[in-house]
Symmetry: C2
Subunit: 209 residues, 2 copies
C-alpha cells in the first residue's frame, strides 16, 4: 500500500479526538482513573509532540468539560486541543449514505415498536410505572445502538473528513461510519501507545535538526 | 430572475415523476378516477410532448405497477416514461443534511416513546390487542410523518438532482427535501395544466419548423 498522500511533507498530521477517550472507563484506563486525570495525562504527553495537531469540535469539547474538574485542567488545553467545527455547509457526503441511514432508521423504528408491544402485553398485574421505566430503557437502547444519533457524532465525522484527519474514538457507531466515509481511525485502546510513539518520533526529528 | 441554466438550448427539460401523481386521489382527479385511468391520460398527453423527457426510478415504477391494471396500460409506457436509477455512488449531498436528518430522527423517536408510554398507561380494563392495534397506527404515523422514510423517496430526490430535473410529487416530505437540495419542483395539482402547456408549446415549435 502506498502511504497516505499529504499536501506538504512538512504539514502535521491532524488528529480528531472524541470525549469517549477520556470518559469511557474501558478506554481511559491507560491514561488515568478519572476523566480529569486522563485529560491531564493527555495534555502532558501532547505538549511533547510536535508532529501532530489535535482537534475537537466545540460541541464535543463542551461535552468533555462536563466530565472533568475544570479548575484542575491546565490552560494549555486551549492551545493543544484546537477547537474547530466542521464546514457543514461546504462539505459533501456520498449520497448512498442516505440509503444506509434510512434503512438503519427503519429497522430501529420497527424494533422500537416491538418493544412497545411487548410492554403493553406485560401490563397484567404489574404497575404501569415499572413497565414504562423498563420499556424506556429498552426502547432507547434499541433506537440508539449503532446509529450516528447525535449532532456531536456528525461533527466528529465531518471534521475528520474535512481535515483528512485521524479520528480517535471509542464509539463503535462512529467507527462504522468512519469506515463508510473512508475516514482513517485508530483502535481506541492504542491511543496512549500512539501518543508515546509520536513523542519518540518528535525527539528523533529534533535530534536530527 | 435569470432563467435556469441548461447545457444546450436543444436539450429537453427532464421531469421526474412520483407514483403519488397517479395514486393519491386528491392529486389524481384531473387525470382520471382510477390510477389506471390517470396513467392512461398521462401517456396520451405525454405522447404529444416533444419538449420534455419523463423519468421515474425503477423502484417507483414498480410501486406504480402495483396500483394499475397492467393489461390496460399501453406498452408506450416503457418508451415515454424512462426508468433510471440515480448514480447513488457518484452523487454527493450537502453534509448539513445529516444534521437535519438526525435532528428529525431524534424528535420522531421521542414521539414514538411517548405514544408507547400512553398505550401502557391505558391498558387497565382493556384488551391488549386493541390497544396495540391503536398504538401501532399512531406510532407508525408519528415516525413516518415529514421524513424521507424510504429508499424510493431517496431514489426520486437523487434522480432529480442528478438530471437537474423538475420533480413532480404530491409527497410533502419530498417537497420539503427538494427545497433543501435546490431541486426544482412543481405544485402537484398543476401537473395536468403543465402537460397541456407543454403540448401547446410542442405544437408551436413544430409549426415554426
Amino acid at each position: 500500500m502506498a502511504p497516505a498522500k499529504r499536501k506538504k511533507t512538512s504539514e502535521k498530521l491532524k488528529v480528531v479526538l472524541d470525549t469517549s477517550l477520556f470518559v469511557n472507563p474501558d478506554v481511559r484506563t491507560s491514561l488515568g482513573t478519572t476523566p480529569t486525570e486522563a485529560l491531564e495525562t493527555f495534555l502532558f504527553l501532547a505538549a511533547q509532540i510536535h508532529i501532530l495537531e489535535f482537534y475537537m469540535p466545540p460541541s464535543i469539547f463542551e461535552e468533555l468539560l462536563h466530565f472533568v474538574e475544570r479548575d484542575k485542567i491546565p490552560a494549555d488545553l486551549l492551545l493543544i486541543l484546537h477547537q474547530k467545527p466542521p464546514k457543514k455547509h461546504e462539505l459533501k457526503t456520498p449520497a448512498f449514505l442516505l440509503y444506509e441511514l434510512i434503512e438503519d432508521i427503519r429497522e430501529r423504528v420497527n424494533k422500537g415498536l416491538r418493544i412497545a408491544e411487548k410492554a403493553v402485553r406485560s401490563t397484567e398485574g404489574k404497575k404501569a410505572d415499572e413497565i414504562i421505566q423498563d420499556m424506556r430503557r429498552k426502547y432507547r437502547d434499541a433506537l440508539r445502538e449503532g446509529i450516528i444519533d447525535s449532532k456531536e457524532d456528525v461533527d466528529l465525522l465531518l471534521l475528520a473528513m474535512e481535515l483528512d484527519a485521524l479520528l480517535i474514538t471509542a464509539d463503535q457507531g462512529l467507527i462504522k461510519w468512519a469506515e463508510k466515509l473512508g475516514v482513517r481511525w485508530l483502535f481506541p485502546e492504542k491511543f496512549k501507545e500512539y501518543l508515546m510513539s509520536a513523542i519518540k518520533r518528535t525527539e528523533l526529528l529534533s535530534a536530527k535538526n
